[in-house]
C-alpha cells in the first residue's frame, strides 16, 4: 500500500512528489554519483526518489541547482491530495 502511514516516519507525505529519478536519468547519473554531488548518502537519494523521505529545503535547493531548474520543477506539492487526507 503506497499511502500507508509509517509509525516511525510520520512526516512521510504523499502530497509531495518529486521527479528526482527523471532528472537523474536525464543527466545519466547513478544514485551514488548524485549522492556525492549533493553531499548525502546513497540511501538518502533512494529514500527521496521513492517518496519515503522529504529532503530539507536546503537539500531541495541544492538538488534543483545541480539540475539547473527551479525547485518546483523537481518537487511538486499536490494541495488537493493534501486536503483530501485532512
Amino acid at each position: 500500500m503506497k499511502n500507508k502511514r509509517s509509525l516511525f516516519l510520520s512526516d512521510e507525505n504523499p502530497s509531495l512528489r518529486n521527479k528526482l529519478k527523471v532528472y537523474r536519468a536525464m543527466r545519466d547519473l547513478t544514485q551514488e554519483q548524485l549522492a556525492d554531488k549533493i553531499g548525502v548518502s546513497r540511501q538518502t537519494v533512494i529514500a527521496i526518489e521513492s517518496d519515503k523521505y522529504l529532503p530539507s529545503l536546503k537539500l531541495a535547493f541544492k538538488i534543483a541547482k545541480l539540475f539547473k531548474v527551479k525547485i518546483e520543477e523537481v518537487f511538486a506539492y499536490d494541495q488537493k491530495e493534501d486536503e483530501n487526507e485532512s
Binding site: G39, V40, S41, A47, Y53, S56
Partner: protein
C-alpha cells in the same frame, strides 16, 4: 574504506570491546575494562576519520526519532520500576524493609534518581536547542 567495510570493522571492534570487558569482569580488573573501552573508542574515532563517513540529514532525522522513542519508552519504564520497587518499603510492608529485600529500596532510589536525571537532561537539551533554533525570543 567504504561504509560497508566501516560497519564490518565496527562490529569487530564492538565484539572485541565486549570480550575485553567480559574478561575484565571475570578477572575483576577495572583497569582492563577501562583500557578495553578506551582502545575501542580511539580505534573507532580513527576508523571513522579515515572512512570519511557522511552523516547526512536523513540519518540525523532517524537518529532524532530513535532518540525520542527511546526517551518515550525508557523514562516511563524506569519511573514505574522505581515506583514499584519503592512502594513496598514505603507502604509499611515490613518484610520488604529488612534482610535480603532491603536492596529493592536502594534499587528503587537509583531508578528514581535516574529518571530525574534523564528528565533534567532532556529539559536542558530542549531549552538549548529551542534557543538555538530561534524559539522563545520576543518579536522585535
Amino acid at each position: 574504506m567504504d561504509r560497508k567495510e566501516y560497519q564490518r570493522l565496527r562490529t569487530v571492534v564492538v565484539l572485541f570491546v565486549g570480550a575485553i570487558v567480559g574478561l575484565a569482569v571475570i578477572r575483576d580488573s577495572y583497569l582492563l575494562a577501562t583500557a578495553g573501552v578506551l582502545t575501542g573508542m580511539v580505534f573507532m574515532v580513527l576508523a571513522r576519520a579515515k572512512a570519511k563517513i557522511r552523516a547526512d540529514e536523513r540519518e540525523s532525522t532517524i537518529q532524532g526519532k530513535a532518540a525520542r522513542m527511546t526517551y518515550a519508552i525508557f523514562a516511563p519504564t524506569i519511573a514505574l520500576t522505581a515506583f514499584f520497587l519503592l512502594l513496598p518499603s514505603r507502604g509499611g510492608i515490613s518484610v520488604f524493609s529488612q534482610g535480603e529485600w532491603l536492596f529493592t529500596e536502594a534499587l528503587g532510589m537509583i531508578f528514581a534518581y535516574l529518571t530525574l536525571f534523564l528528565i533534567v537532561i532532556y529539559a536542558i537539551a530542549y531549552h538549548f536547542f529551542n534557543k538555538k533554533y530561534g524559539g522563545g525570543g520576543d518579536e522585535k
